[in-house]
Symmetry: C2
Subunit: 313 residues, 2 copies
């Protein structure tokens, strides 16, 4: 038996990155069994668990995916929930990417060989994974359905994010019915099992769901999001957060670091920026120099934060 | 009604590039009608017709797609059978790519927004398009099925190319049965309706199915393939072909131009190279300096020619 094909989401994994990897590895193993192929797929993760993911895995008796820190020559991998080398495992250049399942913009990856690339402009990668179960006619176990439903709900901020499409609403409704829960109640429960931001180490807040991006000028930036039902607890720690992201700018040479805390009840985000704050000010027409700024309606990093920054000349 | 969304394959279109565009535009229009969306998709092409495409379109009473030479700001486009800017319409950087259907390696495209990317490592884009009709439960008209079957057969060299997968064989068998033809006989007929290479202008031979690639060093190369049932007629014109590709090296500054004539009956290809011939010699362990070289078993540009060249340090 050859080494397993590793299935993983991006660094600083969120609930969708880990859940989609677990779901897709299960599907691929079922398909391999059906086709009599001597190959095994293993779900992995490139970082610690978000608290909600750990809880749902435990509640549903699903094995925790193994943490890996890098890949290398000879490894075959499937990327889920990302397609940019910067956001992937260390050593990804040397590995063979055999498949990608994603819902983000194209990030410039080059491969020597053709591969399966299954991307859709929808609210979560987990919704694409659920669709594949249907297309391939593979039965989705109830526990796994609950895990994937949780990821669809956190990634779409309980369908409030502007990234939510009719496709997401349909898949969420059908999966919630199959699992036997109300999607909005189930989503609120999941958000509540996140840790109290007043008690978390500041590094956990800043890096909970953060990604590197490369601007057209070649400089790197770091954009972190922290979704919460208790924005005041996060803002009570603004000075600490500002110190932490200032240190990241200095250490990693980022053009800027933009951290934003998203209040999923009030439906908006508070921006905290260090480094080249003018770039962010110009992009959004705000003044975030030395102070945090409330951005009503901003819920999606991808569509409302990263896209305008990457499009900004 | 907004401007149509343009659906097109690569420059120097082959049978698959045009047929897949026609098939996919039809499918998208049917889906838009079903969903009550006020949008129209128009199949286009970035070059002249291969003779077999023109004949099948006429035989089956399918409207010829319009030729376009470029796109620009404000255009929405769907790329089929390619995903590299170099092989796409002039001005593609300014257009909005809303979808990609392809079976080639990833070529480094960057977008600001997420999009539908449907790539599979299979023998033709037309096979992926036929699969989508099934997934979306849209009836495939018989004439369009004959067009897409022709493209599946030319792109896989009647299933002899090493790019041919079990998936291709299944889709070809099912489509041939639906159309009511024997796939091998139908494929041979299609190859025979290509023009006699003794009579074609040399530019038509050299550019019939040629693509630009960018090496890791940033230099561009041009790789052209001419599939034929009459290799001797092509080789009788080697001196002319050599002059034509030498002129391309000089005009376009290519590191090299590799032209190869593929004999689909003998199942191999004859290489003719100008420019940095040593690079090609090193890649394949041959001596093509000043003379053409027979490469037994080489039928696929993608898998057996472009991939080793792009992987060559």
């Amino acid at each position: 038996m050859a080494a397993p094909i590793l299935v993983f989401g991006h660094k600083n994994p969120d609930n969708d990155a880990i859940s989609a990897a677990v779901g897709y590895a299960y599907l691929k193993n079922e398909l391999a069994r059906r086709n009599g192929e001597d190959v095994v797929y293993e779900a992995c993760r490139l970082g610690g668990f978000p608290p909600e993911t750990k809880k749902i895995l435990a509640d549903r008796g699903i094995e925790e995916p193994r943490r890996i820190d890098g890949v290398g020559e000879g490894d075959k991998v499937i990327l889920v929930d990302h397609n940019e080398a910067l956001q992937s495992a260390d050593g990804i250049e040397a590995a063979e990417i055999v498949e990608i399942v994603d819902h983000h913009r194209l990030g410039g990856l080059v491969t020597a060989q053709p591969l399966r690339f299954n991307a859709m402009p929808v609210g979560s990668t987990s919704a694409i994974v659920v669709r594949e179960f249907g297309i391939c006619n593979v039965e989705l176990p109830k526990g796994l359905a609950a895990l994937l439903l949780g990821a669809m709900l956190t990634d779409t901020v309980i369908m409030k994010s502007p990234t939510t499409t009719d496709f997401d609403r349909k898949v969420i409704a059908a999966t919630a019915e199959y699992v036997g829960v109300d999607p909005v109640e189930y989503g609120m429960e999941i958000f509540k099992c996140r840790s109290n931001p007043a008690e978390l180490p500041v590094e956990k807040i800043v890096n909970a769901d953060a990604k590197e991006f490369e601007l057209a000028n070649g400089n790197k930036v770091y954009i972190g999001q922290f979704e919460t039902v208790d924005l005041q607890a996060v803002l009570g720690r603004e000075a600490e957060i500002r110190e932490a992201i200032k240190a990241l700018v200095a250490e990693k040479g980022y053009q800027f670091v933009l951290f934003f805390a998203t209040d999923i009840l009030a439906e908006g985000s508070q921006f905290i920026v260090e480094g080249d704050v003018d770039f962010v000010n110009d992009t959004f027409g705000i003044d975030a120099t030395g102070k945090s700024v409330w951005m009503p309606g901003v819920l999606s990093r991808k569509k409302q934060v990263a896209a305008p920054i990457l499009a900004h000349a």
